[in-house]
């Protein structure tokens, strides 16, 4: 998995859009969408929302957590409590996609970009300290509830290399005893 593949997965998340056209139900393989009626909210997968947006066929309603207050609150919980806080699935990927592709539909998009970045930083920092703790403990298992796909992808390569090293060293230590 890489970041692009995470984004591909995130594009399956359902979003609300306000279309500016009228059409009946579309029977997609991933489920039916529509009927579409101009200026009536409809729920579609993110890839479709972004596609329609690119063709100027709709306005995307940003998810309710993607607001200055929403993200600020997320950062607060994140920095005040020890374990990872529960965040919406694919939050980083979606925030990134929406702020990149339809910043005109997201209020305060510039401020949000910074905040989303701060949020990411605080989670990654937490991940780093817990990774070090984990490696020092020699445990073979760690609870990772609330980590998102993107964060897992981000941590995977280095964590895998590090634990493989530790395993080799431990096996050597056992053998030489």
């Amino acid at each position: 998995m890489n970041a692009l593949e995470c984004e591909f997965l995130a594009e399956n998340v359902l979003l609300d859009i306000v279309p500016n056209f009228t059409d009946d139900v579309v029977h997609l393989i991933c489920g039916d969408v529509g009927p579409f009626e101009a200026s009536m909210v409809a729920r579609v997968p993110a890839w479709l929302a972004l596609y329609l947006k690119r063709r100027h066929k709709c306005r995307i309603v940003p998810p309710d957590w993607l607001t200055v207050n929403g993200i600020q609150e997320m950062i607060n919980t994140e920095t005040t409590q020890e374990p990872f806080s529960g965040v919406p699935a694919h939050f980083m990927e979606l925030a990134h996609l929406l702020l990149r592709e339809c910043s005109d539909d997201v209020p305060d998009s510039d401020q949000l970009k910074t905040l989303v970045h701060d949020m990411w930083d605080s989670r990654v920092a937490k991940m780093r300290t817990s990774t070090v703790k984990f490696l020092q403990s020699g445990e073979q298992r760690a609870e990772l509830n609330n980590l998102t796909q993107m964060e897992i992808t981000y941590a995977r390569t280095s964590l895998r290399a590090a634990t493989n090293h530790v395993n080799v060293l431990q096996a050597n230590a056992r053998d030489s005893r």
Binding site: E11, D23, I29, G31, Y51, R141, A142, E143, L159
Partner: protein, 234 residues
Amino acid sequence: MASTSEDPLSLGLDSLIDGEADDDVDAVTPADVLQQLTEAWQNEGAAPELLPHRFDVVDSVLSQIEGMDENLRMYGRNKSLKHDIHKMELDRIIYLNNSYLRRRLDKIENSAALLLEQDERRRRDGLEPKMSSNEQRYAEKYTQLQEDSFKRCVLDQLPVSLQKLELARLAPIANTDELVFAEALETCHGVSVPDPRDDGPGFEQIVVLEKESRTLIPYKSVQSFVYSGDMRLL
């Protein structure tokens, strides 16, 4: 989740309740099948070894794609928005499908000879082979080419006593001790994890992984749960 794999490891309670995998393929919706393919794709990307193939899913997705493709060609003369939306979804699914096949081929090319040997052993033990018949044919051809090339380039010029070539011994062995990120789709009981407090292998802790919990865990601890579809890799 239905009994998705034909691997005997998975023939637990699920399969008794749900019946054989082939029977309920018709009962699942296209969206479910797509979800299963996505999961198989993710699992294949995260697992250190080649997983048992899911060509039951691939085939049913392919038949969906073909049906949709035909419809598009029939009604596709007028470039309507609907047509374009369907086309876009089709492209996404084709990408997913191709990427799944490629991930498997990458692994197969990496240790073709070894996988052929392992599948042979699985067949002897009455287990379903991990590769589909097409993949197996591919692996055989690939091994043959590898062998020919080794012979032509190097081995033929060596003394006869040094000409022995065992490709299966050269192939990298999947490291099942590697840590993976797993999510329990059902509550999993009796997951055994090596205990770090005891020295040496053979000491284990038994843990329960609650439904929807995510853990970092050695692959071999969750292998059978991934086969049975009770866990997925992230």
